[in-house]
Symmetry: C2
Subunit: 173 residues, 2 copies
Amino acid sequence: MSLDRRSGCPINLSLEVFGDRWSLIILRDMIFGGRRHFRELLNGSIEGIASNILADRLKRLMELGMLTKADDPSHKQKAIYSLTEMAITLVPILAHLGAWGRVWLPTSEELSIRAELLEKGGPPMWEKFMDELRHEHLGMALDTASGPSVRATLQAAYQAVVAGKALGASPAA
Amino acid sequence: MSLDRRSGCPINLSLEVFGDRWSLIILRDMIFGGRRHFRELLNGSIEGIASNILADRLKRLMELGMLTKADDPSHKQKAIYSLTEMAITLVPILAHLGAWGRVWLPTSEELSIRAELLEKGGPPMWEKFMDELRHEHLGMALDTASGPSVRATLQAAYQAVVAGKALGASPAA
DNA sequence: GCAACCGATTGCAAAATGCAATCAGATTAG
DNA sequence: CTAATCTGATTGCATTTTGCAATCGGTTGC
């Protein structure tokens, strides 16, 4: 993945940042999955990224200013990755992307429930989520009234669908 | 570009549709640039796509249901490409993408004025634009009160910036 | 006729990707 | 203390994708 600029068009430049098959997947897992470590990203996501590609993309996203890396205080060789404000502001784009994909593409029910909820929540929910991410990754104070975190809400909905499916699909029990 | 599915996640599936360096650029030029022919897309955009890649992507976008192809009645060997509803509904995503890129990436002023206008216009402007695109590409009747077309508005703003730059940059005239 | 143009296709070198094996250092279990 | 395990990567290699230039057969305007 090169960093050269083909043109100053905003859409083109955005595509040069995450117009590949992995960068946005990594950011998705960090944002919605809460993953912060190399291994979590390597083994955690459904799609199965190769370790060299992951290392390359993490490096690239850091160079682009979307991620920062720090030592994990609890483990000397563990690195912890954090989202920058630049990456956090992708939340509305990811929400739109999920909403579009849910309409037009053959998404699976359990994986699209989160997109559906995020779409229904609209900009207010996105703002709350971004605020939570700023707290989590940038150490900023939370300024919206809390309640359950957006990520927890999305995760609970996902679990509910999975559980429902398991029940419905259980063979004549 | 393969069509295999890594997972049913909406974001992943969306990425598999236009998570490459060219598909969205082509759609951008069709949507905002009004380009309908192979040659227009080949020579028209700033980024300079190779003809084999363009042919491949057009074919792929047709297979995915984002484009249709028809004979141009005026020229027997000319093909005219049309956006489908699936592609037209990308307008909000492109608007968000442009807005994000304008904030975080080194965009050029003349190329980002359109993104700025589209952002300021918000969902109402996007709806009007999508309606115009449906008229243009799907032959549907326009149902919003007209005035100048959104594309014309964006284009005029672009021209104004270019003209302004030419004046400002003219050497001691 | 004939040059210019139409939407592609071909050949080829360079780059990116996927995959498995492996690395050195840090931690943990016995 | 020692061996096994876990950390974030790196290496080598085969496959796929890309970028680039040249070219194709057919169509159009002159």
